[in-house]
Symmetry: C2
Subunit: 176 residues, 2 copies
């Protein structure tokens, strides 16, 4: 039986940062530099917590840019693994259809049978997980890979992958 | 740690049959009796396959009646178990929001963190599963309970529960 991978969406195949930079600029009239939000999420910047509310709006997750290298990366992983898209979508009702449509548009080669929209990832039984949140990896029983994002740069508990080239290098190494 | 239950929606907590009886009657001008659809799904009746398409319509899953005894039953199970609502929703895009709203209306005591909308239930790692589909129980690694529905009455592979009273009786027995 082929091994399976639980692959996160936001900050792993969908790039949320550019959208939050736009929203921040619209609200506060300032374009943030990397130094401003390094080590945290953009809405964790002092005084900016209210922009997290935009996650509840219809359409937020529909037009996110694709993370660089992720389409080719997922295709490559699918040659050897069962790849599931596992996203903690349930906090945001409107994200459900938006994420579904986004996946159908940008990753049409992934069957809907492989989509898992959940609230708590501790229930997942895959062999590997690729995620930007340490709390998801901490409750996972398989091998967890931490995909680098501004908010997790200080974490050292898990194997880190900085980009999709490093994801593929990790799995190439697993085969040998 | 408390044990966990993967609880299906359709035909277990949501009653799909009355809706399909109405749709069949609207299309074919005949109110079906139990004998007409016993041993199958209503849309598996000869010539009626096209009414399965209504599952893709916005709203189909929004106004289903509640399965008798399921609200009290779920409340009772939640005293001793982590109950997850696990539904193979992904074939039907519009079911995602409809099911979300239905759960919020009829089971507001279940947190969204406990909702799992997936395509393929083989990825679930709970201890128990309550489901009306044998194919979901067959790929499940925990203990599976088959909730009786017209289409599964001839199945003998799994422990059968005919209604919510029998679900509760089964779990009462697990504690002793």
């Amino acid at each position: 039986m082929r091994k399976s991978i639980a692959l996160d969406m936001d900050e792993v195949i969908a790039n949320v940062t550019p959208k939050f930079l736009d929203i921040y600029e619209k609200h506060y009239g300032k374009r943030l530099s990397k130094a401003d939000y390094w080590g945290k999420k953009i809405y964790q910047i002092e005084g900016a917590m209210n922009i997290r509310e935009t996650l509840h709006e219809k359409g937020f997750f529909r037009d996110l840019p694709i993370m660089e290298g992720s389409q080719e990366g997922v295709r490559k992983l699918m040659e050897d693994y069962e790849v599931y898209i596992t996203t903690a979508a349930q906090e945001f009702k409107y994200s459900l259809e938006d994420k579904y449509d986004w996946l159908q548009e940008h990753f049409p080669f992934i069957h809907w049978k492989q989509f898992v929209f959940c609230g708590d990832k501790s229930i997942l039984g895959m062999d590997y997980m690729i995620d930007d949140h340490v709390h998801n990896l901490q409750t996972f029983r398989g091998k967890g890979l931490l995909f680098s994002a501004s908010h997790n740069i200080h974490e050292t508990e898990f194997t880190r992958v900085n980009n999709w080239a490093e994801v593929l290098a990790f799995f190439a190494n697993e085969k040998t």
